[in-house]
Symmetry: D2
Subunit: 340 residues, 4 copies
C-alpha cells in the first residue's frame, strides 16, 4: 500500500509533490529506486532521517500497523501533516495517543486513512441518507470479505493485525459511525466466529469468518461480517436501512462492465483485492488530503472517530474470544456484567 | 408442445376436461397411452375421427405448422372452438383462410397461440405502457434467440418452418403489433442475415442469425433479432422505448434465483429452452382460452393479427433473400419499388 | 393463508380432492361459501365436526399459531395425515407434543409447512451445495424482511406470534438446519434488536428489527436478520458460504421481468408479500404432500426439525430480551452460564 | 470536450505538459483564464498562432466537427503529433485528406479519438474475444443512446453533425471494425429512422431514433441503434455474439454502486452524459497518446479505420434518407443497384 500511495501522490495528485519515501525493506527500496527515484524522489531507510528532508510538509504513514502510531506521532512532533493508514493501532490507548499528539498541534492536518470515506458510492449513499431519502437510519449491515488466500499469509499476518474485527471490520465500523453519526455511543457488542479454512488462526485468537453485532444508544443496530475465504474475489458491501427505505452499496460487485454468456451460463468477474474496488477512492483521498493541507481546509472527518472504531473492533474481538456480550453506559464507558 | 398442452389442460386447467388427443406419430401415441389414457383420455391417430369424439367442444392444434390451418379449419367446420399454435401457416393466404373460416362461425372462439400475450411480464409492461408510463411508444426491439443445437435439427426444420423470421420472430412481430396497436400498418421492411454455424440452412433460403427492421405508418420503428446459436440458453427479450421512458422485459434472463460465486466469478444459469421461460404463460393461456369458451368471453386479441404477423414475417424473409427493402402503402398494400 | 391452501388443493393439486373446510370466522365462512362451496366443498365452523367428514384422509392446519398443535394432534388422533403451518407452536414443549403424537401413528404423514423447502431456487441451491459446488458449507446468512405495515397489525400480532425470531426467522433457522444438516447441534445463540418504527412492540417483548447469531457444534456459523420495515416489499434472501464458493438465493428480488427506465433512473418493483415470492412453492408443497399421502412416500424432511427450529427461535428471542448469550452442550442441552 | 481534454492533459497525464490552449469563443477563453492560465497555459484565439507556440509537440483537436480536418492537417504540416476528436469529418473525402496528410509525415503520431478504444470494459471484452472465448465473432450489436434534451440543442446541432449515424453510431461502427477486424470490408448497408420527439430534425435530413444494419464480407453482421430520447440517462451498450458465446458491455448501466429501495421499488441512477460513462477512458487516451508521442510507440489503432467508419456512417445516413439498401463489392467499392 505504501507503494500505491507513493504513486498516487507522484502521478495522480497534481497539487502534491512527492519528495521522499521511506522503507526499511531492501526489496521495497529496490522498487522505489526504479519507480520513484527517477522522478526526483529521495529514498530513505531511516524514518527519522526522512522526517528531516528539506521542505517536507506532510507524511503518509503506510507501514505495518505496529508502528503506525509511533511514526505518526514523530511526524506530528516534527510539524508535518499526517495521513496515517488505518488502524492507528490495534490498541485503544495507543490510538488515543495519536489523537493526543495531534491536539498539541492544532494547525496540523492529521487524518486516519479510512479510504471508503472517499469512495464515490459511499458518498453518494451518505448524501442520499443525509437528505432524508430513507427516513431515520436504523440498521446498518456491512461486510469486508477477502478472497481466499491459501498461502497461509493471513495466519502470519494475524499475529499483528489485531484480529479480523480490528483488521477487516474496522472499515465497516468506521462506516457505521459515519452513517449513524460520529458521536454515536456504543451500547453493547457481541461476536462469534469460526475457522473454516485456517484453523491455525486460533493460536493468535483469530478466526477466518466472524460475525458481530453492535447496538448503539438511541436505538441503532449494526452488524458486521468479515471473511478470509471468498472464492470469487473481494466483496465488500454495505446496507443502510432506514424507517422509509434502504440504501445498498456494492450489493452486486463488478469488475469491468463485461458480462460473458457461455455454455455454463452468464458470468462476470470481480476484483480479487480491495485495490480493484477502491483505487479511485485512494486517489481522491490523496487529493483531498493535499488540498486540506495546502488550503487549511477542514478534514472530512475527525481523528477521534478512529479511536472509537478501534475501541469497537477490539470489543468485538474480545467478545469473540470470551463468548460474552460487552456493555457500555450512555457515555460509552464499559460496564461490567455485574453492573447490569 | 402437443404433449405439454395436453398436460396443461389435463392437470392445470381446472375448468377444462381433456377428453381426447390425436397424433399420427407412434412414439407420441405410446407416450399418450402412459400419460393421458389412464386419466380417461381417448387417443386417436385419425384427426377427423377425433373431431367426432362425443361431447368435444374445443380443439388445440399443436401439430406441425404445415397442417395447422387445415386442421383448424376442419375443427371450425365441426363447430369446435380452436386454439391454434403459431403460426397459422407460413403463407399469408393460407393464414387468411383460417380467419375466413372463423368468420363463418362467429359464435366460436378461434385464437392463435401467441403465448407471450399471456406472460405476466409482458402484460405488466403493456399495462404500464398503456397507462402512459413511457409517453408515446416509438421504438420496439425484440429478439428470439435459441440455444445452439449442434444436432442439425434446425436445418431439417427449416424446410417447413417458413424461415427464421416467420418461425422465431413471429412472436416479436406479434408483440410489436400488440404494443404499437393491433391496427398498426406496416410501411417498409428490410432484413439481413448470416449463417454462422449452419451453412446448410442456405439451401432452404434461411439463416441462423437474422436482423430485420420494420417501419410502421405513423412514425413507429421496430427491429428484430433472431438467432439459433446462443451459448447460455434461450434469451428472448424485448424493449419498448417511448418518448418519456423505456420498458425492458427479460433483459437479464434468469433460471432460478440462485447465483453462484466461484473462483471464476459470479454466475447464473438460464433456461435452455422457451418452455423454461414461458411455462406459466402456456398454463394461463389454457385457462383463459377455456374461460372464454365456457363463459363466451371476448378473446384477449383478434385472430386477424396473426395474419398481419405472418405477412410481416414473410416480407422480412423475402427481403433477406432478395436484398431489397419492401414497401407498403398506408392501407398496408404492397408497393412495387417502381411505384415510389 | 387457509384460503390460499384451500384453493391450491382445489384447483392446482390434480391428485387431491378438497372436500371440507373449517373456519370459526364468519367473514371467512362467507368467502368459502362463494369460492369453495360451489365446487362441492363442505364448510364447517366446528373443527371436530370437520374431522368426522366422511372419507376425509388428510388435514391442512392453517389457523392461528396458538391452535396449530392442538388441531394437529386431534387430526393425528383421528387418523388423518397432517400438513401443519409453521411454527407448530411458539413453545418448544408444545411443538414436541405434536412430534410425540405423530410417533404414535407412524403410518401417518405429518409435516410442518416450511414452504421454502419446496421452492425451486432453494432446492437448486441445496442440490448444488450437496454436490460439493461450494466445498464445506460454513457460514449461513438468511433474512426474512416484511414490507412496512403502518396499520399497527404487527403490534397486535406480536402478542401471539412468539416474537420476530420465532415468527419470521423460523424459516431461516429451518433453512440453516436443512443446509447445515438436519442433525446440526446448536452451540450458542445471541440476539439484539431495536424498535425503529413500532415502539409498542416492546410491551410484548418484541422488536421490529432483530439480528441473531447462532453457532453450531462442528464449526458452523449462521446469522439472521428479520425486519418489519422494508420500504420496497418483501425481501427474503439467503447466502450459503462454503470453503470453495458461495450460493446466494434472491439477493436481487424481482417481481415480473420488467425493468423501467425513467427520468429518475432504472427501477423494478418487487412483491409486497411473501405470497408473491413463494406462491409456486406452496403449490409444490400441496402436490408433494398429496403424493406422499397417496403413495406412502417419505416426506422430504422430518417433523423433529420443526422442534429444533422453534428451540433456536425461542432462544434467540430470549437472548434478545435478557441481553445474554445462551449456550448448549454437544448434545444440544442448554448450559447455564455458570457452567462455563 | 476541449476543456475536459485540457484538464486531463494538465492534471491527469503526468508525462504531458499542457502549454497552450486555443478557442475562438470568448466564454471559453474566460473559462481558460480561470482554469488553465494560472497553471502556466497560454491561451490563444488564433489557431495558427497557437501552432507556433514555442516547444509545442502535440495538438489535441477538439473543436467543432466542421474544422477537425483542417486543423488536424495544419498541425501535421506544422510537424505536431495530433489527437483529433471523432469524426475526422462528416465527409469521407475530407476524412481521407487527413490520412493523406499524415502519410506525408510518417514520424508523427496522428490518432482519431475513438475514446471507447481506451475503455477498460471494451478492452476486457476484446481480449476475451481475441483469446477465443466466444468462438468466431459473427454478430455485433451496439447502441449510442443520449439522454433526452428537450432544449432543441440536437436540432441545431444536426446541421453540422452529419446525422445521427455519423455523429452517434460512429463510435459503434468503429467498435465493429475493431472487433470484427480493422480490415473488414462492408458488403451492404441499410437504415431506417423516425423523429419521435424532434420532428424539426427532418429539415436537416436527420432523425432522433435510427436503426441500421451493416453486413460485412465474410459472413459478419452488425446492427446499430442510436437515439436522442433516453429518459434515464446515457445508455451506450454493445454485444459481440460469437459461435460459442456472447460478450456484452454495459448491458446494465450504472452510476455509482448505490441501489435504492423505496416504496416505489428498487432503483439506481445512471450517468446523464457520455462523460459519466467514459471519463476514465479519456484519461487513458491522453496518457497513451502521450506515451506514443514521447516513446515513438505504435498507436493502438490505425487512422485509416476512421475513414472506414465515416464511410459506413455516411452510407447509413444516405440509406435512411433514400430508403434504399446500399451495396459494396469485395474491395469495398460501392455498387450501383443496377449492377446487382
Amino acid at each position: 500500500m505504501g507503494a500505491r500511495h507513493a504513486l498516487h501522490f507522484l502521478n495522480r495528485t497534481p497539487r502534491a509533490e512527492l519528495v521522499a519515501a521511506f522503507t526499511p525493506e531492501p526489496s521495497e527500496v529496490a522498487w522505489a529506486k526504479i519507480h520513484l527515484e527517477p522522478s526526483g524522489v529521495t529514498i530513505y531507510t531511516d524514518y527519522d532521517e526522512m522526517l528531516r528532508h528539506p521542505g517536507l510538509e506532510a507524511v503518509v504513514v503506510a507501514t505495518v500497523t505496529t508502528v503506525h502510531a509511533e511514526q505518526a506521532i514523530k511526524a506530528i512532533q516534527a510539524n508535518k501533516h499526517v495521513l496515517c493508514e488505518k488502524p492507528l493501532s490495534t490498541s485503544v490507548e495507543v490510538s488515543q495517543s495519536v489523537v493526543d499528539a495531534s491536539k498539541t498541534k492544532p494547525h496540523l492536518k492529521v487524518m486516519c486513512g479510512f479510504s471508503r470515506r472517499f469512495d464515490a458510492s459511499y458518498r453518494d449513499a451518505f448524501d442520499r441518507m443525509d437528505s432524508g431519502a430513507i427516513g431515520r437510519p436504523s440498521v446498518f449491515r456491512s461486510q469486508t470479505c477477502d478472497k481466499l488466500d491459501p498461502s497461509g499469509f493471513f495466519v502470519e499476518y494475524a499475529q499483528f493485525s489485531g484480529g479480523i474485527f480490528v483488521d477487516c471490520n474496522i472499515h465497516d465500523i468506521d462506516l457505521a459511525l459515519w452513517y449513524f453519526g460520529q458521536d454515536s455511543i456504543v451500547k453493547s457488542v457481541v461476536a462469534m466466529g469460526i475457522t473454516a479454512v485456517q484453523p491455525e488462526l486460533r493460536k493468535y485468537k483469530d478466526v477466518d469468518n466472524g460475525v458481530g453485532i453492535v447496538e448503539f444508544w438511541g436505538g441503532k443496530l449494526a452488524y458486521f461480517y468479515s471473511s478470509r475465504m471468498m472464492a470469487a474475489g473481494q466483496h465488500d458491501m454495505t446496507e443502510i436501512i432506514g424507517t422509509e427505505g434502504k440504501l445498498s452499496i456494492n450489493a452486486n460487485p463488478i469488475g469491468t462492465l463485461v458480462e460473458m454468456s457461455e455454455p455454463s451460463g452468464i458470468r462476470r468477474e470481480i476484483p480479487p483485492h480491495y485495490y480493484g474496488r477502491f483505487e479511485q477512492a485512494f486517489v481522491t483521498e490523496a487529493n483531498e488530503f493535499t488540498a486540506a493541507c495546502l488550503d487549511d481546509l477542514k478534514l472530512p472527518f475527525k481523528l477521534t472517530g478512529a479511536v472509537q472504531a478501534v475501541k469497537i473492533g477490539c470489543a468485538l474481538q474480545e467478545s469473540l474470544n470470551s463468548g460474552k456480550e460487552i456493555y457500555f453506559d450512555e457515555t460509552g464507558r464499559r460496564l461490567e456484567k455485574a453492573a447490569l
